[in-house]
Each structure stands twice: as C-alpha cells, then as structure tokens.
Assembly symmetry: D2
Homo-oligomer: 385 residues x 4
C-alpha cells in the first residue's frame, strides 16, 4: 500500500484520483500510465489517497467526490469512494494571486507561515503519507540553493507555496524517520534547488521534479532528437499552446508565463547541441477549449544539399489526464526507490518524466532515450525484473 497526499485539488489531481479508483474497480484500462505493461513492486491498486490540500474556498471542506463532480462530472463517471476524503486547507502564499478565485491559505488563517508549516507537519504525522504530489497552480518561484536562506524565507513567510510544502514534508520525514517522496509536477524549482534536494537527502527521502513532461514539450524533445540524429540543421522552432483550463488562465499572468517559458526552452540546446531561434511558450487562454488544449508547431531545417524541409505538428490533447497518468507511475516508482534507499533527487527518473529534470544543471535528453536509460536503472536496482 502507498499512502498518497495531494497538494492542489485541481483538474490533474481530480483525474488522478478518478482514474486510480476506476482502475481499482476494473472499469478502466491503464492507458496513459507508462509502465503499466511492466511489473513494478507496487500495483496501481496499491495506491491509496489519504489527504488533499487546497486553498480555494469553494473546495476546502468538500469531498473529492464533490470537487470532481463539479470539475469533470459531465465528462467522466465519478466513483463514490471519493466521498471519503475531504479537502484540507493548505498553503497559499499568493500562489493564486491575480486569478478570479476566492482563496485563503493556512498561513493566513493561523497568522504566520511557521505556524502553518508546524500544523502541516502535525497533520502529516497523523495521516502518514508516503508520497506527496504537488500539482498546485503554476506560481512564481525561485531556487535557494542554500538551506539557511530557505529556512529564513520560511520564517519570514516570503517564499513560494511549493517551497513551504517541501520544507514541511522534509521536516515530517526527518522527525518521523519515514522515507518519503515529493513529486513536484509544476515548474517551481524544487528538484533543481540544492537546498530542497539537501533537505530530502538528509531525511533519506527523494524529491522528483520539476514540471511533469506532458503535451508538446516531450514530443518536441523527441522530434529534435530525430532531426539531430540525421544532422539536419534546425533553422527555427515555433510552438504555440492554447487552452482553457486554470493553468492557461494562470499563465496569462505574465510572470507565470515566464516560469513556463524557461522550462520549455531548455530542451532546444540540450538536445540539438546548438541553440537555434525558437518561440516556445504557452500562448493564450481560450475558455471553450477547456482542458483539451490546441498545440501548433512549426519546425524547419536544412537538409542535404542545402535545401529546406518543413514540419508542422498540430495536436488536440487532454492536458490534465496526460499528467495524471504519469503521476500514477511516479508514485509507484518513487516509493519503490525509497524502499531501495535512493535519496536526494533521481536524475534518470526526472529525465523521462519531467520537463526540467533536477538536480540543478542537469540536461534534458530525448524522452525515447531517457526511457530506456530509466528502464536499465530500474533493472539494476532490482525494481524491474
């Protein structure tokens, strides 16, 4: 059994809990779960959700069933079993600032951040989660790289919600001796923050991140590898993304958009071996598209004899389920890794699953390559047969 706590009960978390419950009941094939074909030490059925945190007043106190009904009730059957877990109030720290939701953080409720962190640690001790999944809305955040600096930021209450959660989780792990996993599926730098990685190492735990690799970015990585392997000279890359979910709404706030842009652009030079002019970023918000975003990409290059070739990719893809499917395996593999005493941040896991793989300075690689490297490593560790 793997006990899982969710941070941010939005669309991704909702797809995650619905999907896992439906797979448990045998109602759903585990499509979109990368390692479903392999025998991992934990089955999907071993995943148990024990807690969920959010700051949205319309969610806090509600059951996951109620939240799910509202978010995807017209699209998916919502299992009754989700009535048992209720959303708890989590950390805000301005992570939803500027968005049209009524929100309040635990730090606002309790007066300061250290009190909120202490309360979280207490709750965690009671709930005993093994794995934490960070899927809060994209927020502005910077890495610290220095534990002392991070600690002071927590004391002053001037940090990101992701960092505050990470800090509380590491404290919980250290104090209880429980080896835990934090999966950071959003752009905030945690697996790329030396300070956070150090805290998790000291707690014999792991932080996986950053920014779950779904949608256009991992595909672009593989397309660029495909071109690089043929020594085609890429002239420029344009990639547009438009969608109607909260993440796209959040990214229409300029400083959040910047967070995403940094993340996405790092693949170009890492994979091609040279930089080339590119425009890769979330482009806009269009409400009717909902969670099914539209992606358009133009890549052109010099082929043999100096001639030009062109590639246009258009996709219409469900944003949140794609990430939810990855989380199912990140939860299972993350837990298996701590069982094998892996600690800190596991680069090869990040390299396949994350847009900005930690640790700091780590390179992006083609996903198809990363996948086989990860397979080999899991076999070496005895996690896969």
């Amino acid at each position: 059994m793997i006990r899982v706590a969710i941070l941010g009960q939005g669309l991704v978390a909702t797809h995650l809990v619905i999907g896992v419950e439906r797979i448990k009941r045998g109602e759903l094939e585990p499509y979109g779960v990368p390692f479903a074909r392999y025998r991992l030490p934990y089955r999907i059925e071993d995943i148990e959700f024990v807690a969920s945190y959010d700051v949205d007043d319309s969610k806090v106190g509600k059951s996951l069933y109620e939240v799910a009904k509202k978010l995807v009730g017209d699209l998916l059957p919502v299992p009754e079993s989700l009535k048992e877990i209720h959303v708890r109030r989590g950390i805000h720290l301005g992570s939803m600032k500027g968005l049209p939701f009524s929100v309040k953080g635990l730090e606002e409720e309790l007066g300061d951040l250290p009190s909120a962190v202490a309360k979280l640690v207490d709750e965690f001790k009671e709930l005993k989660p093994d794995v934490f999944v960070n899927v809060i809305t994209t927020e502005p955040a910077e890495a610290y790289h220095d534990i002392e600096a991070l600690r002071k930021a927590i004391e002053r209450g001037e940090t990101s919600a992701s960092h505050a959660y990470a800090y509380a989780i590491a404290a919980y792990a250290k104090e209880t001796g429980r080896k835990v996993v934090l999966i950071n599926a959003i752009p905030s730098p945690l697996a790329r923050d030396d300070a956070v990685v150090k805290l998790f190492e000291e707690a014999n735990s792991i932080v996986v991140g950053d920014d779950g690799a779904t949608g256009a970015t991992p595909l672009t990585a593989d397309l660029l590898e495909h071109l690089a392997q043929r020594n085609r000279r890429v002239l420029s890359i344009a990639q547009f993304n438009i969608g109607g979910n909260t993440d796209f709404l959040a990214l229409s706030v300029p400083e959040r958009n910047l967070m995403k842009e940094k993340t996405k652009s790092s693949i170009v030079e890492d994979i091609l071996g040279y930089d080339t002019p590119h425009f890769i970023k979330p482009t806009g918000y269009l409400e009717p598209l909902g969670d099914k975003k539209f992606v358009s990409m133009h890549i052109w290059w010099k082929t043999f004899n100096g001639l030009d070739d062109e590639l246009v990719v258009n996709m219409r893809i469900n944003d949140s389920p794609a990430l939810a499917g990855l989380l199912v395996d990140l939860i299972r593999i993350g837990k298996a890794l701590t069982d094998k005493d892996v600690k800190g941040t596991p680069y090869l896991l990040n390299a396949f699953f994350m847009k900005s793989p930690g640790p700091r300075g780590a390179k992006n690689m083609a996903r198809i390559v990363a996948y086989y490297k990860l397979l080999d490593w899991l076999k070496e560790l005895g996690i896969l047969a």
Copy 2:
C-alpha cells in the same frame, strides 16, 4: 579512398554525387549526413564515384554533369567534376515497365541476362568499386531465400533488376576476393532475402537494406515509440504521401504501390507491440510537387481516463536529398564494416537506416533507439572512438 558505383542515375544518385562533390570543395555543410559530427575512419572527401548504371536512353552515354543539369540544374549548382563519369547501360528486366520513358537493358542489348551479368562482372573487375548503391526506381520483386532458386531465375532472365545486380556484385566480390558493400536503398528485398545474404556472406561482403528510411516512415516509428512509452492506446493511423518525382509516378502503378505499402506497415506492430488499423501508403502522384513531397498524418489514441487525443503531422520535404544524405554515411560505414571483416547483412546498421531492415524476420525499432544501438556497436568494433 572508397570507390563507389551507382545503380540508377535518378534524382537520389544525382543529389548524392552533387552533394559529395560540393562538400569536397568546401561549398556545402554536410547537413543531412547523420554521422558528420563524428569521426569515422573515412571522411566524406574519401568518396570517389567510379561508375554509374542506368537503362534510360536519355541518360546512357551522358555524363553525370549532363544528367544533373537536366534534373536539378534550376535548383542546385552542378560541379564540373561530374563531367568525367558517364552513365553505362545497366539491367532493366522490366523494372521501368509502364512508365513513360524510353528504356533498354543490357540484357536486351546482349540477348540474355547471363551475358549481361557476365559483362557487368567484367566491368566491375576493371572499375574496382568497393561500394555499390542501388537507387533504381521501385520495382516489383520477391525474395528467393534459396541460392539455387535465385541462380535459376538469373539463368532464365526472370528476376528483378535488383537481384540481377546483387548476383553480379557477389560474383565480382567472390572472384576477385575484394570485400564489397551493396547498399539497397529501394524496397526490393535483398537484405531480407536469405539467398542474397548468403551469397554476400560467402564473398566476405555485406548487403545493407532494404529501402532507405527517409521521410515519414522513420518519423512515424519515433512517434509511435513516443506513444508506446506512455502506454497510450493508438486507435488508428492514417498517413498520406503525395509527390511529383519518378518514384511517385512509379508507385501510381498498383503493383509497385503494394511494394511500398508492405514496407511501411511493418513498423506499426513492431513498435507498438500490437497491430492497430492503419492506412500507410504512397497515395498519389501530383507532378507540380516535384521532389518535394507533401505528407499528412493523423494519429489518435486513448489517454488516461479513457479520453481521446489527436495528433496531425504535415510535412513538406525534399525526398531525394534526404536519402542521398543517408547514403553518404552508409557508404562510409559500410566500407568500414568490411574492413573489420563484418559480412552478411548488418542488422544494427539496417535498423537505423532502412525501412525494412534485413535479415528476414528482423524487427523494426524506433529510430532514436536504433541510433544509439548503432553507435554502441560501432564503438565496440573500433569504428567510432
């Protein structure tokens, strides 16, 4: 120095000779040449073209310069050095049947195929090629798998032009003790024909094939691998190709189209691990498109929670230069392999470079994966540092 003989002086061969000559003169970057970034035992500058064969009356007797001027004179500068090689008459055996060209084969000129084969062997002995590149127009052809059956077909003059060339080349290699390479860049099964592979093995030589992997097929392979790695369930695949070069004209003859279709479809099950409905074949001929074909692809799949995602790929790509760029490396690596006493058909080389990798029964794999496996093998052999 690598001495190269060309079979079929069409667009691909013309791009090959122009590109190599331009690179020799320092006029052209080696884009589209996959291993140009690595240090192979032979440089591109070491490639020397010593002969060219064709059956088109408007080409036989002409210099490669004259042929090139006519085919791509409005698109590319044609180096003067191509004036030195003249097109010789090669084997026809009906390979251009039904196409609007005036053609005659050496077997027609000399009365029968065995005489034509004997003449070719004599010419090869004089010209001393190390590498043969088969880029004749797509022709109907079947594998023999039995040397005796192939020998009898040659005697009767009832075989494909590709098989007749392969037979002559193996004889030349055996008689002279020269280790040679035959690169079969067209769909005719040579590297997948046990008989042909056996003949080359006996001559300490290699046959590389079949069907150079350019265009949509290798990209589809990598896209399918990308989807398979995420356990997305592919519902169907549609892939259209339309172009205006001789190969597309040839493929508008139904039996030739079938040759291509077989080749292309094998990737689906090999990579996904299951078959799924697909429509993958050259679709039509449209003269104004010329050598720059238009490709359109639709792939959709089930993602997590049973929802549907869709991907559309459109490309406008130069058909012949893409293959010519691959040939530059196939020539260099093929020669290096015979230097290392590799014989028969080298699967790992085929797996990256060919649509239907020999030997018979060999599987297709994602190109991104094949590339790294090939790299490792070349390092093991000492061909790459």
Copy 3:
C-alpha cells in the same frame, strides 16, 4: 406539414430523423441547418417522416428507433417517436454489391424491376409523400438523357437503384397529380440527367441534386474562389479524405471511388477559370474513424513577384450530420418551390447545396456566392421575406 419518405436508412437518414425529432421537442438547437435563421414557409416542426426504404436485411422490418439505436445509440439520444415508422424493402439493383452486408431488393423479391416499381408507386399513393430523400450508398450510375432509353433500362432491370426510384417517384407524381420533390444527395446523376429532369418537369415536380455538398468540397470551392479573387495562380491541389463509415467502405471499391472523383474535380476549373493539377478523391477506409472523417488538403500558389505560398487544411468532421442538416432545408425549400410551381431542377438551389449541381452542364460556383444568389431568388419568389 411536409410528408417525407427516405430512400436508404443509413447514417445520414438516421441523423436526419433524430435531429428533426429532437428539434421538434425543443431538445436541440438547429445548428447545421443553413436557413434556420430565416423564416421559411415551412418550419422544421412541419417535417413528418412517413416512410423509409432500405435493402439491408438487418434493417428491413425494423423500426427507425431500432436502426438508430444500433447505428448511433452510443452517441445520441434516440427519440421514442421513431418507433412508429418501419423500414420497408426498397430497390437494390446491385447498389450494395461487394459490400459486407446481407441485402435483397424488392426487384429480387418480386422477380423483376417493373413489378418492384409498380409496387413502390402503389405504396407511395397510400403514403402520400411530398418529398423523397435519396441517401442510399454511393453506387455506380450513368446518366441517360433520353427518356426512352431510361424506360427500356427500367424494363430490362438494368439501371441504378437511384434511377429506378426516380422513375417510380415521377410516375407517382404524374398519376396522382401531386407535385413532389426528389432530393438526390448522392453522386448518381439524376439532376444532371436530362431524362430524369424531363420526367419531373412533366409531373410538375422537381429533382434536386446531385451529391450533397458537405465536407471538404464546398470548403475547397470557397478557398479556390478566395484565391481566384486575388489572382493567385494555383500550382496544385491535393485533398485526402479518410473515414470509417459505409460510404468510405463503399468507395474502397474502385468503380464507386471513380463516381466520387468525377464529382469532386469539377470544381477546380469551374471556379479558378483554368485547370490545374489536382488529386481530389476519397482516399481510404479506416474503420475506427467511424463517421468522423479526417481530411487533409494542400494548396499552393504563385503570389505577387513570383513567390510561392502554401496552405494546409486539416479537418476532423462528422460526415453524416453535416448532410442531414442540409437535408432539413432542402426538404423545406424544395416543398416551397413546388408550391410556387417551380419544376424540373432548380439550379440555384443545387448550386449551393450540391457538389455536382444539375442540370447537365451547369457550373460549380463558390458556395459563398451561390448562397446569396439563392437568397435573392427565394426572395424574388416570395419564399423569403
């Protein structure tokens, strides 16, 4: 009230009856019904289905409700009111030959075609339809242009099912004095057949056709008009269609495909004013796509200063509902036209709604233009205010 009889209870007819019933109940907005915004003499609510004919053994004798449940039950709510009409056996004449369905025609049941025609006329006299909608599967058919020739073909039982239906309908109209409408939504030439048009004229009735203009063809017409208005010189047009409904299955039989091809290609020269190389035809059958076909189009042209521009259009569209929506208005306008004593074949109605507008020799025009010409004509006739 308009009494409607359906010929061919496939997907299109099923969408038509469901949609009309749902609109009657106020459950559905009339999207896809071109003139829903205007006040026509007949409302959608005035449409009443009184009969349906088919040759598929699995449909004949079943209620429209049962047929609809089977065809689209997972996609749409099926109104109970469809339980009242049952499918009658219609004319086959080999129109489903080669397709994997168990079928039998009335002419086979009764021994010869004249008997079948006579039986139909009798049934029509009892059912009193005002409008007939021909949506049988695409069949091979040729125009007669000579009434005597058509009559003899009927006698010999050697004609198309569409022609046999048309003949029976004209006889019914003539014998009863009822002015009727035949809407030919498939490629068989009826509105372009002088003989058929003459028969309808003599019966003070109208035949509308041929081949309902949905999907890529009317869009291509408007795109070409757009380019022509700017004097851009179109170099080539490629248009691919792939789908998984019975019509695509039927078109995978070569002679049927040809029917469609003829229809579609006529737009190029009619609109551009010159012919240009084009590849426009249904391309393949891919079962999982179902009724939602995938269309891909590539058009390029010379712009000012001799430079090349390119346009790629990709669509994923529901094939049958698009046609069903047009039929709703064709039924209403067709009936209104006979009320105004229009007879023969109404070119301006055909020009907007049909791919191959009758009468024989009539030109295609851009749909956007045809629409306004039709509006003007309907106003002139007093059908629109």
Copy 4:
C-alpha cells in the same frame, strides 16, 4: 499615367516597386494582383513611382535600387530602373520608437512638425503625385473625428506619422486642386477617422483604408462566412501568426500588438452575427522566418445533432508581396475613382481590400461577397465594362 509617392520604403514598398517594374518589362505575370484579369481604365504599366519617404538613416538618400538590393537582393532580381528614385526624409513622430534602427524624422531635422508638414506640401507640389501609399511600420495611433482637434495635434507635434502625412496630403490636394488618393495600408485609423475623411472630402480626394487585408484575416473572414451560411455554431477561434520581418518585430512591442489585435478581432461578430471567444493576434517574432510568416488557426463548431467538428489551417505565406499585389490595384482603382469624382472614403473598395474598412463604424463582410459588390459598383460607375 499615375504618379505614385510611397510613405515607408520597407519590404512592402520594395516588393511593390520591383513587381511593377518587372511587369512593365514583361518579366513577370501579374499574379497576386486581384483585378489583373479585368480591363481597368489604367494598366499596371501606367504606374509611375515619383517619390519615396522614410526615416531610417540607412535608407534616406539611397536609391530604391540600393534599398531593394539590401532587403530582397538574394530573393528577387532588382530592376536597374529603380536607381532613379531616391528616398527622401519623412515624418517620424516616434513611429519607430523602441525598434533597433537609427531613425530621424523631418520634424526633428526642421525643429517642429508644422515646418515638416509645410516642407512636404512644397515637395508634393513639385512631384505632383496622384496617389500616396502609406506602408510605414505599424505605429500606435488614435482617431480624432474632429478636424480642429487634429489640426491642434499637428501644431503641437503630438500625433501619429500617418496623421501627419494625411494632413499634408489633404493640404496639398486642396491647395493645388489636384484630386488625390491616400491608400492607408497600415492599422492607424485614417479612413475610420471622421476628421481625416472630412479633410479629403473637402479636397475632392479619397482616403482608402485601413490596414491592407492580406494573410490570415481575409481568409478567416471567408471561412467564418462559410460556417455562418451553414448555421454552424462556432465555439472558439484561435489564430496564431509568427514572422521575422520588421512588422512582426514592431508588434512584439505590446502597444503596437494591440493596434493589430483590435483590427483583426472585429471580423468575428461582423460576420458570424454573434461574438464567440477568440484569440486572434500576431503572436511572436522569429527572425529566421523572415517575410514568410507561419500562420496556424483552430476553429471548431457545433454541427447538426450537437456534434463537434474541427478545422485546422496552417499557412506559410509571403507577407509583403501579398500586400504589394493589392496595392497595384488600389492605386489603379483609387485613381479611377477620383476621375469619377468619388470623394471621402469608398466603403466598397475598403470592404474587399482592408482589414478595418472605413468609414467609422463600417462593418466587415466576407471578402468573397465584398468582391462581387465591388465589381458591381465599379461597373455602375463605368470603371469596369
């Protein structure tokens, strides 16, 4: 003969002068010139360029030949006849602010705007242009609607370059009695500014505008009309544009982007009859794309029976030549209209050729419709036979 003065010697103007000169010499077909198929009172050969204005220090004083060589010398042959005209210093008023060019305006050179305007009027009197073409870089600008307010803005030197030019041109026309044409091919509101229209009316002259309709916008207009005519309910529209010319660079400055956005969005409600969520704006700058921009569009709608259809359009189009081709006819028709004593702003001409047709409050309509309305009007005026 039509004497033409250019305002803004950028890519569009360069394509215009090269194209016209090449057509004069019989070297070029007039593709991209909408009315080339018709017999207008003026032939393309009648166009004579007599002056050109710019503020870029690297252009002022140079011949059009030198400017053209630098801008498109690698793409097009540059006629020698362009050596005779030299770029004069024009109005700046900050229109290039924030862009990486060294610029100076006549108003800076002479100390104030009224002096610059007076100098322009003097030059115009000497050069005697009939038609002025405004193709300066997109600049921020607001309409006045009040002649007095415009006059005061000129006096204070606080207006847009486009308004200053318009003011000078109207003064020149009034003082000399010459009937002139100002074609405003950029987004600045001139034909939509009551004040400017009034000034031109008083001078028996015309102002045509605003913002030449090339690229994605007129195509979107026709696509929306196509959908509206079938009563398909559009759910959302996303349209991305990315290019590498100065106009895209300019539009990466937020306030300029806004100018373009306003222009483009007005088509949605005007044509559909209702507003629908849309994202239509220039999206980014990517230098290697140069003048050949990439456009991607996603439109989806409800079809009959409430099902969803989707359309994706991708284009790779030459931005400047498309506009230059339109200008050839705007010059010819504009002059012909003043010959017929038309004055003010001619809505029907604007409706086909302009993105934001004047006068103020005028509606956008489908281009295919506008074209035929324009044809009718020109016939009525006796301009077309």
